[in-house]
């Protein structure tokens, strides 16, 4: 045990060094990416060949989201390339961001300058989009968010699009309906403080609660990656609110729901967009019963298009699609429609075609863009019942 005194300082300095490196990483990579370059793909012989880059959270803690998005995109790619044979061929280039802003920036730079893609789909997290979106915008390359629901995404620039319904539409819809039907008077909040998406969702919840006259009893926070929520929930139990509002991703969110019910919290639980995943039922089990969320996509929706998609997805991957897969699937359909309209794989023409999108009928509902390219769509309020989400009446 003699070595111990010498080893410890070195270990600590390694940890310190690593954290310093991580801290510096953010700013160092954003200087290249000004050039517009000629845009990707070619249009020889009538068939448009379009290279589309995808930046997704494919490894690490949120890889489940990235996997779902990749699955949705690949399903759409296979279908589209078959349907549009001879007219349009879509190639997808996947880049893994690992959920990190620096990696997302690097991936976007690489796709634009090295791979010459005509457009980019992704990145997965709102925080990544805030970091990488300006680079694509600067390079006049359309970048299409499929899971960025935070406020202000479209303000990045006019090359930035998204088909994910902003939380500012989804959350108030769910809250209003719950307050109307259940007569809720008081509320407590819990949200992931280190995630842009969850914080933005929380702010929307808080604002809506004020508008609806819900009394705010208290706010607690947790961090992405946490597994123990007993301290926060013991506090919530003391407060005993009518409604517990959770803004987070489903991984932590469903564990919170489960733990809350275990502790005997009786409040109505209303969740943000992150809860929109069949996995919630696997993790929370019976505790999920009665959970209320607003969603753009529900695999239970009795719609021909939705059911065809669910069936094709289940056949290919052996599981039900979630909202992430659905919105990725829709995004590629929107891309192909706009590419065909643009007539060639040109970044600027594609942007203009995308901006004109109106009444696109996808698996996650009808979609149009307003003059600020904000998605206009409708949210369905659903409640968890018997292991799945059913419309909340």
């Amino acid at each position: 045990m003699k070595k111990s005194s010498r080893l410890l300082p070195s270990l600590l300095s390694i940890i310190l060094g690593a954290s310093l490196l991580a801290g510096c990483g953010g700013g160092s990579t954003s200087d290249s990416g000004g050039q517009a370059g000629e845009s990707g793909g070619s249009s020889g012989g009538g068939e448009i060949v379009a290279k589309i880059g995808v930046v997704s959270f494919l490894s690490g803690s949120g890889a489940a989201y990235g996997e779902a998005q990749k699955a949705g995109l690949e399903l759409a790619q296979a279908e589209l390339n078959k349907a549009n044979e001879g007219k349009l061929k879509i190639e997808l280039l996947f880049e893994d961001s690992g959920g990190k802003k620096e990696s997302a920036i690097n991936a976007v730079n690489k796709l634009i300058n090295q791979d010459n893609v005509v457009a980019i789909i992704g990145p997965t997290l709102s925080g990544e989009m805030f970091a990488a979106g300006p680079i694509a915008n600067e390079a006049e390359t359309p970048i299409f968010g499929i899971s960025n629901t935070a406020e202000g995404i479209n303000d990045i620039g006019e090359y930035v699009f998204r088909n994910s319904l902003p939380e500012s539409i989804a959350i108030p819809t769910a809250m209003k309906k719950a307050v109307d039907k259940l007569g809720l008077k008081t509320a407590a909040f819990i949200y992931a403080a280190n995630d842009d998406f969850s914080v933005s969702g929380f702010q929307t919840m808080k604002k809506t609660a004020e508008e609806l006259g819900l009394e705010n009893l208290g706010e607690s926070t947790f961090s992405i990656g946490d597994v123990d929520f007993s301290a926060q929930l013991t506090k919530v139990k003391e407060l005993n609110p009518d409604a517990l509002l959770i803004s987070g991703l489903y991984k932590e969110g469903s564990m919170i729901v489960k733990k809350a019910r275990e502790l005997g919290i009786q409040s109505t639980i209303i969740g943000g967009n992150g809860f929109n995943n069949p996995k919630v039922f696997e993790i929370a089990g019976d505790a999920a019963e009665g959970l209320i969320v607003a969603t753009p996509f529900s695999p239970e929706k009795q719609d021909e298009k939705v059911q065809a998609f669910v069936k094709a997805f289940e056949e290919k991957y052996g599981k039900k699609p979630d909202q992430f897969a659905a919105q990725a699937y829709d995004a590629l359909y929107i891309m192909s429609q706009s590419l065909l309209q643009a007539g060639e794989a040109d970044r600027n023409k594609l942007r203009d075609a995308l901006a004109q999108l109106k009444d696109f009928n996808g698996v996650s509902g009808k979609l149009s863009f307003d003059e600020n390219r904000n998605p206009i769509g409708e949210a369905v309020v659903v409640v968890a019942k018997g292991g799945k989400y059913v419309p909340f009446e």
Binding site: M1, K2, K3, S4, S5, L7, L8, S10, L11, L12, I14, S59, G60, S61, G62, A63, A64, E67, A193, N194, S220, T221, F222, S223, G225, D226, V227, D228, S230, A231, Q232, T234, K235, E238, K251, S254, M255, K258, K259, E262, L263, G264, K279, E282, I283, A284, G285
Partner: protein
Amino acid sequence: MFWQQLVNGLTVGSTYSLIAIGYTLIFGVLGIINMAHGQIFIFGSLVGLVLITEADMPLGVAFLAAVVVSAILGLILEYTALRPLRKKNVPHLASLISTIGFAILVEEAMHKLFGADSRAVPVSLGSEMYDLGIVQVRGVDIIILAVSVVLMFVLHFWINRTKMGKAIRATAENNETASILGINTNMVIVTTVVIASALGGVAGCLIGLAYSALIPTMGLNLGFKGLAVLILGGVGSITGAMVCGIILGIAEVFSVAYGDSSYRDAVAFGLIILILLIRPQGLFGRKV
């Protein structure tokens, strides 16, 4: 509420203790920190969990499988990442890095094999609540606490009272001298690594029960917490790992309950800095 939060802290803390005991064992003998410990035991317990969910195995079998798989991973770690370096007599830092490499491999293997999602633990063992007046305790919390205390005593006895324990202590003292005196040090090291990893498997299962879910990425964070406990308690001290795990758990829960969740890790690692400044050998460590 204070007492309930104390119970919460105790539960969280005893899982940290269980993890830290694994670190302490390996450090005591090899003088290295096994950065792959967290990943190894999460891998093991995920295998156990898959056996329950996919193959409908009873809890006992799954538990055993988790422990065995963790032990096997420990064995692989020893043969691929530790022994080759030890033979070449490279500085201790080299094996720290090789265990980090092993950790990354195991984590990515988990993503490939089990997916990145969190997996729910369907077993309801210990989820019943006991109302003790001012506090409510879950059965599983009591199990975790009991298991860590029992393991601590068993290990303490094993290291201090048995022949094998003597050999381990001799190897820890000085590898070469022990080997000259006729101790099969390689055997001792293999045994230690395997036992530490198997203990990790036990910890992983209990953690799965406590949090009702297992996530492949949990290993990293929990591993760091175990490391914090190791340094806090004094490297190589089993009692230190036990007591400081609980101290850290309580400190964390109180910082969340009466402060903010963002301070959770700050408290953990702030404590390390403080302890290292005041008592560089850790709370229970011996002066070198």
